[in-house]
Symmetry: C2
Subunit: 225 residues, 2 copies
């Protein structure tokens, strides 16, 4: 699907991608989005947990409290997800870069009202953050569901931008005596730390101990099974 | 300084902070910001490299290409920086959370015009990403400076939001046989990977090899000196 002007990648368009597989892959590798909205002409950008189902993102609470007003039925959002993979260190300042994967998505959000629908949306967010956790814990009560705001964001169009690989220097700079390469910067899960009030004999939860990756198959060190 | 309504933390206000030390500390621990702006009522959120000097952020290129128009002298931005530190795993779904540090900053941006000023701003961004790198590499030519857009963003007001520590469960849930605790998710620099075209005998650059931290003192594994 060709994007409209709004979603088209302008700068370095060779890094742009618009296919669902690329976009979904990036959205599924993260769990924090930056949600942009406008109030009285002022832009706001709020970090928010999210979960994806098809072309819908469920956005957790905090963003909603500021952006939704009484009676709002749908407000235009820009939801951006960014994964930083590495520093790209070139021989010239100009060609320094970052290896990253990002998605910029446009659409409209509405506040989820029904308790059942809200519970499903929260489960989707929970599964996105840590698969399997939802079934291990006490589910939300009716009162807790009421106290939680969840937005349903329907993606109308989106673009991905990806950079991978080594620096690309000007041909005449390859002879400079400057170290060049990449410095990988994955998010790496560390050993889980038990709550000091954890009851005796309770082992690390399956969802936590399981070999899992935060960022595209990386970040798997330091976890016991 | 008490913030205006715009910058005040509304949801979970006990997590809000408005002092310069907290805000600068978070801004100095990251190098990617999410920049929000409005064009024809449509919000945009673009990830961008940045550097901080006092209460000014220098924003690199890509955001500028879409948001600045011919003749713009200053446009309102929201610049948000988020560091995710850990998953917070409670005994109930409701009390799950994230340990994080974020800053939401409001102000106005202008495009930097002068070559000298632009070079200083780029150096500030470069130093924020990897201290010491700027002096190791070929500096930008006049032509390269012309090809690079840099925005100067003056922070008018900002708020920080921080969560640390263990989950806080409802008192009656502490008896549940559910593992609870935190799963730390630092960004960890891995072994640098040399460019395949690196000349023989060129050792890892000081800036790269040096013990350095991406996220507040963590992320120091896997680096040789």
């Amino acid at each position: 699907m060709m994007p409209t002007k709004r979603a088209r990648v302008r700068r370095l368009p060779q890094r742009g991608a618009y296919d669902a597989a690329t976009i979904h892959g990036i959205l599924d590798a993260a769990f924090v989005a930056h949600v942009g909205f406008v109030t009285d002409g002022q832009p706001f950008v709020i970090p928010t947990l999210y979960g994806r189902r098809e072309d819908t993102l469920y956005l957790h609470g905090s963003a909603a409290s500021r952006m939704m007003r009484e009676g709002d039925t749908g407000i235009p959002l820009c939801v951006t997800v960014t994964l930083v993979d590495a520093l790209v260190l070139a021989r010239s300042a100009f060609h320094h870069s970052i290896n990253y994967r990002s998605v910029v998505a446009f659409g409209t959000a509405r506040l989820i009202q029904g308790a059942e629908e809200k519970q499903r949306a929260l489960q989707c967010i929970s599964e996105q953050v840590l698969r399997g956790r939802w079934d291990e814990v006490r589910p939300p009560t009716e009162k807790e569901l009421k106290a939680t705001a969840v937005l349903e964001f329907a993606i109308e169009e989106a673009s991905a931008k990806v950079r991978t690989g080594f620096p690309v220097d000007d041909e005449e700079d390859y002879g400079l005596p400057v170290w060049a390469g990449i410095l990988p910067l994955p998010v790496v899960a560390q050993e889980p730390v038990a709550d000091p009030r954890l009851g005796e004999g309770i082992g690390v939860a399956g969802s936590v101990g399981r070999w899992w990756s935060v960022v595209g198959g990386k970040g798997t060190e330091g976890l016991r099974d």
